[in-house]
């Protein structure tokens, strides 16, 4: 992966006005994995939307870390179930008449 696919945590924190400690806590809770590149903790750009969602849940809705953990888990389950439903619906189309 190329370095431009990562954003330093400092940049993210400054951009979103959040404390570095908040990101550290997310990492401690296993909600984020932050690789270190050139001695700087970074976030992969593909995880940016996920992190922004967590920021919103915490700061906008006052949801604590335990709550965020549960929400993220349930949202992942919903996503998987939706993918499964779509696949099943597509299989059912085999029996549909035009």
């Amino acid at each position: 992966m190329q370095t431009e696919e990562f954003i330093s945590i400092e940049t993210f924190c400054a951009y979103h006005g959040v404390e570095f400690a908040f990101i550290n806590t997310l990492e401690e809770f296993g909600l984020l994995e932050l690789p270190t590149i050139n001695q700087t903790k970074c976030i992969p750009s593909v995880q940016l939307a996920h992190l922004e969602k967590i920021v919103r849940l915490h700061f906008d809705l006052d949801i604590n870390m335990e709550g965020i953990e549960a929400i993220v888990h349930l949202l992942n389950r919903i996503e998987n179930l939706q993918a499964e439903i779509t696949a099943l619906k597509n299989q059912l189309r085999l029996y549909e008449d035009i």
Binding site: Y15, H16, G17, V18, A49, E52, K53, V55, R56, L57, F59, D60, L61, D62, I63, I71, L75, I78, E79, Q82, T86, A87, K89, N90, Q91, R93, L94, E96, I98
Partner: protein, 297 residues
């Protein structure tokens, strides 16, 4: 224009205090926040109403105006004209959901009454990605058999996109940066296009495999021989084995649907044989079938 009862939206009575408004808002926001209700347009609409109600009721000035003129729109416009010389002041708490808030996110009622903008100090001044847009594109099965380009109009802008062969019904692709504009200088949101692929009259698709039914005359089914089968990629000649049963299947490897983003890879085509019983038999044909019947009993 529909007059919105902001108190009803938040489930409050007219005498609700600041704390009650805040509490009701937080409770409903947690229930309907778009992050917690992905792809749920009804929840997003509800969240927008809740946000709008809070925007008005948590700001004493806006609330006073709403209480006074909310049910009498013509007077409110007159009130607004008189107010134009006065400096507006903001207040109250509002959620700045990163999937975008603009005047388009408020009702016509709100935009006319309050100018469609939030209080300047009503939210954290952070940069956020713009709103993600969602669109549905209806295509035929043959459209997605080959990679092709298509121009779409999204919110008045033309976007030329490449649609990869093998895209599935219900699948969504992300077009980066083509969503709503960022907030406070944040990046643009993304555009998600969900494909709705209509069933084909002859071919049914499950994953990368295609299924079709071919009619076969009785004599060919019994004696075997060459048959021509239609595929999405043209016709193929098959050697049919003798005594092929009605409802039996044959797999044509690699004649199915292209595998998404794997050039040159294809699923399989399953052909179900439907044996057609001959009709309008001549006397001679009937006699021969009777003879056959006697031979086999």
């Amino acid at each position: 224009m529909e007059i919105i009862d902001y108190y009803k939206v938040l489930g409050l009575d007219k005498n609700a205090g600041e704390k009650e408004i805040k509490k009701a808002f937080r409770k409903l926001a947690r229930k309907y926040h778009p992050d917690l209700n992905p792809s749920d347009k009804a929840a997003q609409k509800k969240f927008q109403q809740i946000n709008e109600a809070n925007e008005v009721l948590s700001d004493p000035e806006k609330r006073a105006k709403y209480d006074k003129y909310g049910k009498d729109w013509e007077h409110a416009e007159a009130f607004e004209k008189a107010r134009q010389t006065q400096r507006q002041s903001g207040g109250g708490e509002g959620y700045r959901f990163s999937e975008g808030t603009s005047s388009e996110d408020f009702s016509d009622f709100f935009n006319s009454m309050f100018g469609g903008s939030r209080s300047a100090d009503s939210a954290r001044t952070v940069k956020f990605r713009g709103q993600d847009y969602h669109a549905e594109l209806s295509l035929s099965l043959t459209d997605v058999y080959k990679t092709h380009k298509r121009t779409l109009t999204v919110n008045g802008k033309n976007i030329r996109i490449s649609i990869p062969a093998g895209v599935d019904n219900g699948q969504a692709i992300k077009i980066k940066g083509h969503g709503g504009p960022g907030i406070n200088g944040g990046p643009n949101g993304d555009l998600y296009i969900t494909f709705s692929i209509a069933n084909h009259s002859r071919f049914k698709r499950v994953g990368n495999d295609l299924f079709t039914t071919n009619e076969l005359d009785l004599y060919k089914a019994v004696l075997g021989g060459e048959v021509i089968v239609d595929t999405l990629d043209g016709q193929v000649k098959l050697l049919l084995k003798p005594e092929t049963q009605n409802g039996s299947k044959v797999k044509l490897k690699g004649k199915g649907f292209p595998v998404y983003k794997k050039e040159g890879e294809f699923g399989d085509l399953y052909v179900t044989w439907s044996v057609k019983i001959p009709g309008n038999l001549s006397e001679k044909q009937k006699a021969l079938f009777e003879e056959l019947s006697k031979l086999s009993s």
